[in-house]
């Protein structure tokens, strides 16, 4: 559920420059996660810190695989 909600939020962010700015301004991962959960909830996308950590691990994995 959380992963699906985050994916919906991710697609939404990619279409919305204001949301992008709000997330980019975060200084570190902890602040980013708190902001993302808050903004996600405000847009009806409910996910947890663990969902985000998993998404980060998956993104890192995909990035490395495409390098090959």
């Amino acid at each position: 559920m959380g992963a699906e909600a985050f994916e919906r939020f991710r697609l939404r962010v990619l279409e919305d420059v204001t949301l992008q700015d709000a997330l980019r301004e975060t200084p570190d991962t902890a602040a980013f996660i708190a902001r993302a959960i808050e903004l996600g909830a405000a847009h009806g996308c409910h996910f947890t810190a663990e969902d985000l950590h998993e998404a980060l691990r998956a993104a890192r994995r995909v990035w490395r695989e495409r390098w090959i």
Binding site: R10, Q20, R24, T26, F32, I33, L52, A59, W63, W67
Partner: protein, 330 residues
Amino acid sequence: MTPDLEGWVPARIHVDEGQPRVDWCHLGGQRFTDPFFDETLERRLRHPFALLFRHQTSMDALVERHARQPGLPVRGLVFHMSRCGSTLVAQLLAALPRHIVLSEAGPVDTVLRAHQRLPGVTDTQRIEWLRAAVGALGQQRHPEERAVFLKLDAWHILELPLLQRAFPGVPWMFLYRDPVEVMASHQNHRGAHMLPGLLDPAHLGLEAGQLEGMPMDEYGARVLAAICDAGLRGYRARTGTARLMDYRQLQPEGLRVLTELFGLEPTAEDAPRLRDALERNAKNPVLPFEDDTEEKARRVSSHGRALAELWGRPIHDALEAERLREDGGL
């Protein structure tokens, strides 16, 4: 619909179901000042936003964007045989804030080798894609930025004619070094092009079958010789401005040659920036520069030395002779 890509750069181009796809990363104001393109990207991807939120578009979208936003002009191409000081050249160019220096940028390499992975891709397409990728990477993101320089991968000299068609009239240089010292460096840590698989054997004057059973060091020595040969042939056939540069020239003469070749016009403010870049280890800028000529010559295996002498020495000597003839003995 193409997304708003202001501040985004093509980080990678990959093939998905037989089609090239472009991965975009938000780079914001971050300049390409690291020794290599990928290091700048990796630094950026430490921020979770850049890692999680990446646009993906078709190659057509990249080309269409290029028509609307061509980016800053390309003012110089830096070719090299690897392990010969080209990273220092890139760092010198990147030391000036008016330059965008793309140092061995992955998207450039992917496009140049696209025909190997996507049968039917023509030279015309590769040129169009190359211009589009460089144009997107060379968007002005700071007001002082004026020009783009490409420091290419070592094997890209084999594509010199195509690169010249893509960027006509742009001055270029080819850097090289004593083949024994280059071989020593690769024996310590082999570059990707020194392993069979990356390059089309035809580029090296080899039939595919000839690779079977060829010892790795011999393959590497032949690759280095083919790269130098392409540099020499390209230089002899040049129609525009080009320079050959030997590693030993870099510290005393490098700056002057770059200034002349690329019309750098350094200001008083640039002098300390350039001096600083010259004094650092280019690949690891936290360390000072050290001339490792003697150490490299000592470290190479006798077999490696013999192969470098056999395959690399004649073409190295031919490059030196050509350079000295043109430079008047500098």
